[in-house]
Subunit: 211 residues, 2 copies
């Protein structure tokens, strides 16, 4: 297909596609004449992935380049690639780490059979330590008590997430699905959690309907 | 205590405290002289809550004012206050709603025994419809298949959340706990979900460790 059709099928404007080509986020098409190139389904898949990383993930062009490098690294398994992508889309944010929150995270991951010397080794454990530090900074010193029930519920959710992406065809599609599923899934979970809160509050605290 | 100590104990700079006082987010202290006011533990607690809402929740000053008004409304039951507070801390964001995503949400809440004519009636259902619209806009038309397993996992999580706050002393503390627990809990869940992804990916996709 020509660039116009690539744009139409992906929903990405032609100037944006040209920008991605210049930045090396999309491999060049096959030249069919000095000023015309041909693109295939691989380009379409890659373009959808780049769009997911930029538009859904809010990643910088440099960060997208790192993610693509991890995906294109043939020495890594799909499981490792998913891990690398997850790191790239999990920015812990800035702020101070509370040493007690760091201890809480290390104890939690040890209970899961993992070992870290430093929570900042991984963006994911860093993100968790930041959140628990924020809880401690507002006087919630026992928020870590929630980690085990959270993980229990999230095992069901993560299983559904991984099954959702694992049935997709190519590695690019699996990874695109994981990026979209992780980031848009965060927003879906936020909303569904609030619906579940209403149900749980009615059950535990009561809405007075029994009066 | 004086404003300097309030600042020290809360970690909030004096000019920020004065800004919150001017905006009505913090009740005025008791004047002990024409240019000196006295603050108590209630001020400290409210200040920590405001800071959590602004810094952790990323809420606007207007949204913080709505949350505080709901907490201070004595005519509502605790369950109703929790619902009102949850609405205030759940901003759906801006963007276009996809009519098919709206249908998905209406079908989902109907399965839960709720009835809405319009998803924008509630910020929570609006937020959910926005997230599913975002998924559809990048070609993920079957994201709603995840809603049932998400709710299954989130029932466990919401039960833990409500038990966490219900054991707190005063109604004000319950609500403060729910605000902090919901907003900081969102960040904790994001991180723990990623750890659960790693475990699920190892199980479903395999990390090659069996080779």
């Amino acid at each position: 297909m020509r660039v116009g059709e690539l744009s139409k099928r992906s929903g990405v404007p032609v100037p944006t596609i040209k920008y991605y080509l210049r930045e090396g986020l999309l491999p060049a098409g096959v030249l069919t004449s000095p000023n015309q190139a041909h693109y295939d389904d691989e380009h379409l898949r890659r373009l959808r992935l780049v769009r997911a990383l930029v538009d859904v993930g809010g990643l910088s062009i440099a960060a997208v380049r790192d993610v693509l490098a991890a995906i294109d690294n043939r020495d890594e398994s799909l499981h490792e690639k998913l891990g690398a992508v997850q790191e790239a889309i999990s920015q812990p944010g800035s702020g101070e780490l509370d040493p007690l929150a760091v201890e809480d995270v290390l104890a939690f991951v040890r209970r899961q059979g993992e070992e870290y010397c430093d929570v900042t080794e991984s963006n994911v454990t860093h993100m968790l330590a930041m959140a628990l530090s924020a809880a401690r900074s507002v006087g919630h010193d026992h928020f870590h008590d929630l980690l085990d029930p959270y993980l229990e519920g999230l095992k069901i959710i993560a299983q559904a997430d991984v099954e959702y992406v694992a049935r997709r065809g190519s590695p690019d599609d699996v990874i695109e699905g994981m990026v979209v599923g992780t980031l848009i899934g965060d927003a879906v979970l936020k909303a569904v959690r609030r619906l579940a809160h209403t149900q749980a509050s009615r059950k535990v605290i009561g809405d007075g309907s029994a009066d």
